[in-house]
């Protein structure tokens, strides 16, 4: 290149290169700033949008708010994709800028009039080279020392893992479950031991009144509504309650009624499943929890099930949903050894949505699952013992089915039920009593090809039967109380009690307790003739089954939990 040309081109090249450099700095800075604002999902984290959503939850009918959300959502989406496009284009422009800069920089050297003189420096001598190598050796050692220090710093504070083969506290291999004797002494599930509703040794007062406080040991407000019944283990009473935001288990001191703890289910890493929309007749906490004296297990209609220890700490939780059926999920849990049973009956038999599920009580992991060709049901699974063999008894139209609790194999079944089954069957003295609502009451011998007897009048819709071993007592929702021979179904007596009955009756010692919806309990004598021995009232709406235990009777009203015990004289 000639001198004149160089003179002409050099300033131009330098100018272009400088402009390119400025362009790179500006655009590069802008792009970096853009990057620093975070990657794509900025929209996902819009606080403003989140707040608006929250507001909408409080004002669900606010159309202007909806419009505002839609508008903001659209703006954010547009901004997101515009930003993507912009950064794509800007990066390309930046690449072009860098290219121009490099070419320009090289050209500016070519067009420079004076070539740079080589750097002047002292000549190499033997001594300078030896010294240089000596310093180099020292620097090398220095770098090595740096690496060594880094290695030693890294190896500080090692985490000691448990030695190989050592059992860890959370994974105890030995199953731990209560003895039958322990179960008999408590009221661990819906309707107590074996779901029979009987506390043989209980001795409760014959009269009480919440208004005057007569024989009311204590009364505690229940924080959240629920239709489930209380359960008892030792000196603890457990209840469940729920609303649209939370599913809770409450623990009360049996002696004082003090609320000891409230635990909310949190599904690890999960969002809360939406609570189903239900009518006023039921609640978001209809299923009764169970306990094995080690943990309390509770299930809720949005599919959440969890285990808590006696201190209220959640041990495991998962969502096995959905459970939705036409009136809301109501089946209580049942337990056998370290198996936890969930009866999920939904839809029609051909829908294939109904199933029986068994979980490991220690981990919540699935043990077995069996599909059930049944309609939706609201009755609870019950653990019974037939000739020494444990059986899991379930009822849903059209089948009464008993399973082996350990592996879910079907032991026997009988097709006798119809419509929406809500009463839970019982087993006493070799006879299962089961109810097809508004149709018939059946006596069934386990494994028999047909029912032993059938009664067609006074058939309840929701309440479960109860038996003292000789007689079966069945109270219909309208208050018609039937007493019949357990083995033959022959009527012994019948009596009509005023009131509406949804709570399943219980037996305390030699007293039958029937509880009407208004909260009035009738204490009746067991036997071949009707005899009312007393009455008690808690003065508030009541749907939960009465729980007799020791000298006490626990009743769950709509607002309060009551403990009834004869006052000390």
């Amino acid at each position: 290149m000639k001198e004149e040309q160089k003179q002409l081109f050099h300033p131009i090249v330098v100018a272009v290169t400088s402009i390119a450099a400025l362009f790179i700095l500006a655009l590069g800075g802008l792009l970096l700033w853009n990057q620093a604002r975070g990657k794509v999902p900025m929209l996902v984290n819009s606080v403003e949008l989140k707040n608006l959503h929250e507001e909408l939850r409080h004002h669900p009918k606010d159309e202007a708010l909806k419009l505002q959300i839609r508008r903001l959502d659209f703006q954010l989406r547009q901004a997101l994709f515009a930003r993507l496009q912009l950064s794509r284009n800007a990066t390309r422009a930046l690449a072009v800028g860098v290219f121009i800069f490099l070419v320009g920089a090289h050209f500016s050297r070519v067009t420079r009039l004076q070539r740079p003189a080589p750097r002047r420096r002292p000549r190499h001598t033997h001594e300078s080279e030896t010294r240089k190598h000596r310093i180099a050796s020292l620097v090398l050692l220095g770098v090595f020392a740096g690496v060594a220090i880094a290695a030693l710093l890294l190896s500080r504070n090692p985490v000691q893992l448990p030695p190989r083969g050592a059992a860890t506290p959370t994974a105890v291999a030995v199953p731990d479950f209560p003895t039958p004797e322990e179960i008999r002494q408590n009221w661990p599930s819906f309707r107590g031991p074996n779901g029979a509703g009987i506390a043989k040794t209980a001795n409760i007062p014959l009269t009480w009144d919440a208004k005057t406080g007569q024989n009311i040991r204590w009364k505690t407000a229940i924080p959240l509504h629920g239709m489930s019944s209380p359960i008892i283990w030792g000196n603890r009473v457990f209840l469940t309650g729920a609303n649209a935001q939370s599913n809770c288990v409450f623990s009360f001191a049996a002696d004082t009624g003090q609320l000891l703890w409230t635990s909310n289910i949190t599904i690890p890493g999960g969002v809360r499943a939406p609570a189903p929309r239900l009518g006023d007749d039921t609640s978001l906490a209809a299923p009764t929890p169970v306990t094995d004296g080690r943990r309390i297990y509770a299930i809720f209609p949005n599919g959440e099930i969890a285990a808590f220890d006696f201190a209220g700490k959640q041990i495991w939780a998962r969502n096995i949903g959905p459970l939705e059926n036409s009136y809301g999920y109501a089946a209580s849990l049942a337990i056998y050894q370290d198996y936890l049973f969930i009866q999920i009956d939904r839809g029609a038999p051909e829908d294939g949505q109904s199933k029986m599920l068994a979980l490991d009580t220690q981990t919540g992991q699935e043990r077995w699952e069996k599909p059930r060709a049944v309609n939706g049901s609201w009755s609870s699974p019950t653990m019974i013992e037939v000739n020494g063999q444990p059986q899991l008894l379930t009822a849903a139209a059209p089948l009464l089915i008993a399973y082996n609790p350990l592996d879910g194999t079907e032991l026997w079944q009988l097709k006798c039920l119809e419509s929406d089954v809500a009463p839970t069957p019982i087993f006493a003295a070799g006879m299962v009593v089961t109810i097809a609502p508004n149709t018939a009451i059946y006596g069934v011998r386990p494994g028999a090809a047909n029912f032993a007897w059938k009664i067609e009048d006074g058939v309840p819709e929701a309440t479960s039967p109860i038996s003292d071993g000789q007689r079966a007592y069945i109270i219909s929702n309208e208050g018609l109380l039937n007493c019949c021979d357990l083995q033959t179904g022959k009527r012994i007596w019948q009596h009509e009690i005023e009131g509406q009955f949804y709570a399943s009756p219980s037996i305390a010692g030699n007293a039958l307790i029937v509880l009407d919806r208004a909260g009035t309990a009738h204490v009746l004598a067991l036997g071949d003739k009707f005899e009312e021995r007393g009455q008690g009232s808690i003065g508030e709406e009541c749907g939960a089954s009465p729980v007799p235990h020791g000298n006490r009777l626990y009743l769950r009203g709509k607002e309060h939990l009551f403990c009834i015990e004869a006052a000390q004289k």
Binding site: H126, A136, L140, V147, L152, S155, P162, A166, G269, G321
Partner: protein, 426 residues
């Protein structure tokens, strides 16, 4: 066994409309043909680079090929897979029988090494997009002092050791994770990676190829291969005039100078030489032992980079109550319901592997330090300026600045039957 909760809602039957479920579309597989094209391009580029450097002695040619490589391997093929990273795949395949290294990746790992054994680091010269990027950015080289050069070069050996440890034990590909240029090639990446890339590029404006010289682990292997190469770039095709221009203009400190004569009054005594040799030889096992000890100590800490060990430690800390709360990984572990003993057992096995690997890595670093000290203690006698075969990146700059080469090229241009440089040097 099929999991139970797979289908909560039965698939619908569209009785009214007879609607047909759409079939899945739009699932293209990866275009593999490009992977083979890459290998062919790599081979051709290596051959071309060798020819340009050793036969044509053309800096311009090297620049042109560099631009091509940067555009093709870097921006077009997004820099993946590259030869530097492929070493990790090869290492993993050697130690993990479940992993089979793809043929193309193997070719990427081996071809540049084979070329280096014959022609020196021609891969670095103009084929590697990382090198090309830095080389093209080099506008105003500053002189790096020799002592710093020697010290910093050790980092690449350490990096190589670490990369090999992690690749062999399943701890991940750290070379890929901390590759400074890949984010630039893809024109996207995390902010840290982009900043790292921009930082290296900015440094490359003044410092010749900082990544290649001080960090590139593959460069270590290429250097070792190039040290015994059959042909190597010779600065001048004819007699060296000791003008030292090549040394002044080499931005990579890769010129071995002609040995200056010692002052005549103080000839080095042979006895002192012998003692020094013995001491330096004895230092090698000492450094190896030191490295072994350090590697052993750091092994368990390095194991933390492995997800299983990391998870096991976290889970243990959570269950023992030392830390509160859970991480996403520990939650996923709890949800999967795997027994903790199994996790801890795996973690123990892995830790042992890491400690073994750490010891080997430590021995490697110790050995390198020992040998480097030995070579720094003695110098070979040289009559002329030569390329340092191990560290010469074959960029062909020195040719451009060698007055002898320029003269020779002028002669060549006028000669009716051109002779080649390699012949002329004989």
């Amino acid at each position: 066994m099929a999991t139970a909760l797979a289908q909560r809602f039965p698939p619908p039957e569209f009785t009214e409309t007879g609607h047909q479920m759409p079939t899945l579309t739009g699932f293209p597989s990866r275009a593999l043909a490009w992977d083979y094209v890459d290998v062919v391009v790599l081979f051709v580029a290596l051959a071309l680079a060798a020819w340009l450097v050793l036969r044509r002695r053309s800096r311009r040619g090297v620049i042109a090929l560099s631009i091509f490589s940067l555009l093709y391997f870097g921006f077009w093929r997004k820099g993946c897979v590259c030869s530097i990273g492929s070493m990790q795949n090869i290492t993993q395949a050697l130690f993990d029988s479940a992993y089979a290294v793809p043929l193309t990746v193997l070719a990427f790992g081996v071809l540049p090494l084979v070329f280096a054994l014959f022609f020196g680091r021609v891969f670095c010269a103009a084929v590697c997009p990382h090198g090309a990027f830095q080389d093209l950015m080099l506008l105003r080289p500053l002189h790096t002092p020799t002592w710093l050069e020697h010290g910093l070069r050790l980092l690449a050996y350490v990096y190589l050791g670490l990369a090999a440890i992690f690749a062999a034990t399943g701890g991940g590909y750290i070379i890929c994770q901390y590759d400074p240029f890949i984010a630039l090639f893809r024109l996207s990446g995390s902010l840290t990676m982009i900043l790292l890339g921009v930082g290296f590029l900015a440094a490359s404006l003044f410092i010749g190829r900082p990544y290649c010289r001080f960090l590139c682990p593959y460069g270590v292997l290429l250097g070792l291969a190039a040290a015994v190469a059959r042909w190597r770039p010779s600065i001048t095709p004819s007699a060296c005039t000791q003008c030292s221009r090549c040394e002044d203009f080499c931005p990579f400190n890769a010129i071995n100078i002609s040995t200056p004569k010692p002052a005549p009054l103080q000839p080095p005594s042979p006895m002192a030489q012998k003692i020094r040799l013995t001491v330096l030889l004895l230092l090698i096992p000492i450094f190896v032992g030191l490295g072994l000890w350090l590697g052993d100590a750091a092994g368990a800490a390095l194991a933390r980079k492995h997800r299983v060990v990391n998870l096991a430690e976290r889970v243990h800390l959570e269950t023992s109550g030392t830390v509160q709360g859970t991480t996403e990984a520990s939650e996923a572990f709890h949800a999967a319901g795997t027994p903790q003993e199994k996790l801890f057992g795996e973690a123990h096995t892995l830790r042992e592997r890491y400690v073994r690997a750490g010891r080997l890595g430590g021995i490697w670093v110790g050995l390198v330090v020992g040998i480097k000290l030995l070579t720094l203690g003695f110098r070979r006698k040289r009559e002329r300026y030569e390329t340092d075969a191990e560290h010469c990146l074959a960029c062909a700059r020195c040719f451009e600045f060698c007055p002898q080469d320029q003269k020779w090229k002028q002669i060549l241009a006028q000669a009716p039957h051109p002779v080649h440089a390699a012949d002329a040097t004989k």
